[in-house]
């Protein structure tokens, strides 16, 4: 497997530093990496080919800016082009005022149409409108039932009629909406394989009868090269208005987003990011571009952190770090907060440049569990002053946590080192730690570390 695209591009392009201009020849290796990254993300082969060509055209002749590495520069161009290709964002649904807005969802089996209908209704409700659902899927056993349950959860009406053909159901539904004073009607249609002409005819007929305001094509983000085929087919037959990409909460890189946009030209409107009904988000091309390139997703990471980290707690911790009174208890707290963000592997995967490096490397969550067990086997006093733990206490803790005495002393050692590290960062007056809620990530830290490294180097030379 390839490493992080950023990492490998930098290795390749750093050779170019100071060479002046990017040329066809010298970006070739880099483009190969980009190609692999895009293909691994399931972007369609032809789309990749065109894309590479376009990026190459744009990159060739550009001057290597001195302030950034050529690798970074190329990544920037690639990312720009991707955002350009997937944008502009248009998550608006053009509602019809004073009449019923009709939305029709189409897509393959298992793409998530029914769940998305529910999510869409939920989103529309939050905009102050009154949606209703229509079960136009008479194919799948219990599909109507599923939609009805969703309707009950959302407390909105669901129109369905067993045994009727979908076209008739849809006609009835529009009447029903008028009578019930519903201003948005969402049609959940049957999914099949798009090779099925019968379905396409049925959908076309429904379209002709109900004249939908918008047709959305629902597509599973995990789809491979076939995404292009189905999108193209649905678009030719139904001329849909936008795309909803589902199941993006997994680890699919979602190259389908790029492919579908490239092939149909239709915007991606929303993305499904979870099983719950409120997990439908507007589409962000910049985030998607990072995801496709395997570059991690800082925005999501920050959002995730904000979800679970208690601001007050964080402030308390910061104070403790500053006056050097961090205890193992605080540490345990931190561990738990991190754990609440999800599996460690996911979190690390979101850090740019880390994602692919971690692939194949099994992050040992058990190690964390061990640390937790050890701390939990300590008395409060021991947690406050872990340095005071000696032989017999160590034995007791090891027994209590099912570990060995060495593990306990290792934790003691690590904790000591960690405290020392924090002390270095914060300095005596704590000037390297943020003081007013600024992000803890401070360029000064880098500068300080760099100068330190230089010093160490110098010292070594002197010797």
């Amino acid at each position: 497997m390839f490493e992080s695209i950023t990492g490998s591009l930098e290795t390749i392009f750093n050779k170019l530093r100071g060479r002046g201009r990017l040329t066809d020849e010298n970006i070739k290796d880099g483009m190969r990496e980009v190609r692999v990254a895009l293909l691994e993300a399931d972007t369609n082969y032809k789309v990749v080919k065109d894309f590479i060509q376009r990026v190459t055209e744009r990159a060739v002749g550009e001057e290597v800016v001195r302030s950034v590495t050529p690798g970074q520069q190329i990544v920037k161009i690639v990312q720009d082009e991707m955002e350009h290709l997937m944008g502009p964002v248009d998550s608006k649904i053009p509602f019809i005022d004073g009449g019923a807005t009709i939305i029709m969802l189409v897509g393959l089996q298992g793409s998530g149409k029914t769940t998305t209908s529910g999510k869409l209704a939920n989103m529309i409700m939050s905009k102050g409108r009154k949606p209703m659902l229509v079960a136009a899927d008479v194919q799948r056993p219990a599909a109507i039932e599923q939609l009805r349950i969703l309707g009950k959860q959302l407390n909105i009406p669901v129109y369905s009629e067993k045994g009727l053909n979908p076209v008739k159901i849809c006609k009835g539904a529009v009447k029903f909406a008028k009578a019930e004073n519903r201003d948005v009607v969402i049609f959940d249609t049957a999914g099949r394989l798009h090779v099925d002409e019968e379905l396409m005819l049925e959908l076309k007929e429904i379209k002709g009868k109900i004249k939908p305001t918008q047709i959305f094509f629902v597509c599973d983000a995990m789809t491979g090269q076939d995404a292009v085929n189905s999108a193209k087919e649905f678009d030719t037959q139904l001329d849909f208005d936008g795309v909803i990409l589902t199941k993006l909460d997994g680890d699919a890189r979602g190259g389908a987003a790029l492919s579908i946009k490239a092939v149909t030209g239709k915007p991606i409107k929303f993305v499904g990011v979870g099983e719950k009904l409120d997990k439908l988000e507007e589409f962000h091309p910049d985030r998607m571009a990072s995801k496709i390139l395997g570059m991690g997703d800082v925005v999501s990471l920050v959002e995730k952190a904000q979800e679970v980290i208690d601001v007050e707690e964080a402030e308390k911790l910061e104070k403790k770090l500053r006056n050097d009174s961090l205890t193992l208890d605080d540490f345990l707290n931190q561990l738990q907060q991190v754990k609440r963000m999800g599996p460690l592997k996911d979190i690390i995967g979101m850090i740019p440049g880390m994602g692919k490096k971690m692939e194949g490397m099994d992050i040992n969550e058990n190690q964390l569990k061990k640390v937790e067990a050890i701390i939990r086997s300590m008395t409060l006093e021991e947690r406050m002053r872990p340095e005071a733990i000696e032989g017999s206490r160590r034995h007791r803790i090891a027994n209590g946590s099912g570990t060995k005495a060495q593990d306990v002393s290792q934790l003691q050692k690590q904790f000591k080192q960690m405290k020392k590290m924090f002390r270095q960062f914060s300095g005596k007056d704590g000037k390297y730690l943020p003081t007013d809620g600024m992000p803890a990530y401070d360029m000064n830290i880098h500068r300080k570390l760099r100068s330190k490294r230089k010093k160490i180097k110098k010292n070594k030379k002197r010797r």
């Binding site: 349950i149 090779v195 199941k247």
Partner: protein
Amino acid sequence: MGWFSKKNAGVSTQEDIENKSWLSFQKLKKGLEKTRTKITSRFKDLLSFRRKIDEDILEELETILLESDMGVGPATKIIQDVRDAWKSKEIEDTSNIYDFLKDKLKQELKAWDVSLITAPVPPTVIMVAGVNGSGKTTSIAKLADFFIKQGKKVMLSASDTFRAAAVEQLDIWSKRIGADIVKHQTGADPAAVTFDALEASLSRGIDVLIVDTAGRLHTNDNLMNELSKIKRVISKKIENAPHEVLMVLDATTGQNAVSQAKLFNRAVNITGIFLSKLDGTAKGGIILGMRNEIDIPVKFIGIGESAEDIQEFDADNFVDALFD
């Protein structure tokens, strides 16, 4: 209870079976028609006249493999094998490439042990898992039908208690094909449903118990733990069960299939893959590509929407149907 209809289909005669196997090949061929016309017509274009192999042809070949979702790594590797064979004069011109590739793929896929693991003493317990929308419930109906046609008594455990109407969907299927079903309400503890199904299958002398589970994304740790728990419940109740843990994989899935297989395997040790929805334009090439990363045999394929559209995986048939 009324819906526990225990229909036993007559045991098929030898002739029937032979007829069926031929039919099933035709069906698979038909199912793969789209795939085939796509791949093969390009192959045929490529190879229609004997020409000397060159790098352009190899690149074109790679494109075709990539479009089948095989993945960059595996496709590059196979192309390298072709290149080596060409350099060593094993294949001379384009007319040989075709057979070379076919044989190679067949040979690789034949390394799989695709036989179904069954319990020495019934019931054989088959646990079915997969991501949302992969086609689990339909695949389970197909599996059940497959066993019923062999004269087995089949029970389904409606352990997908999460998705709205999943229980109803399985219930409808069970009536259609004549299988027993054990179900609770939506929202019930899936492990508890499974436990009840195990008890019922033991007391009713069931041959095959198929356990449905809720679709879940493989990256959701909590749900994966829930899956492990269901498996533990099964193992506790019946020794060596579940005998098969099948992961249902949508044939349209791209490279993400690797991650799916890895993480499902980590949670419940998959014994086989049920490749569903092979009747679209999907190429299912991912099962060829996956093998370098995680080697789990495909045991069944689903090639249509009705209950009988199921086949045991056969490497020759699969590759032939793909390239014929």
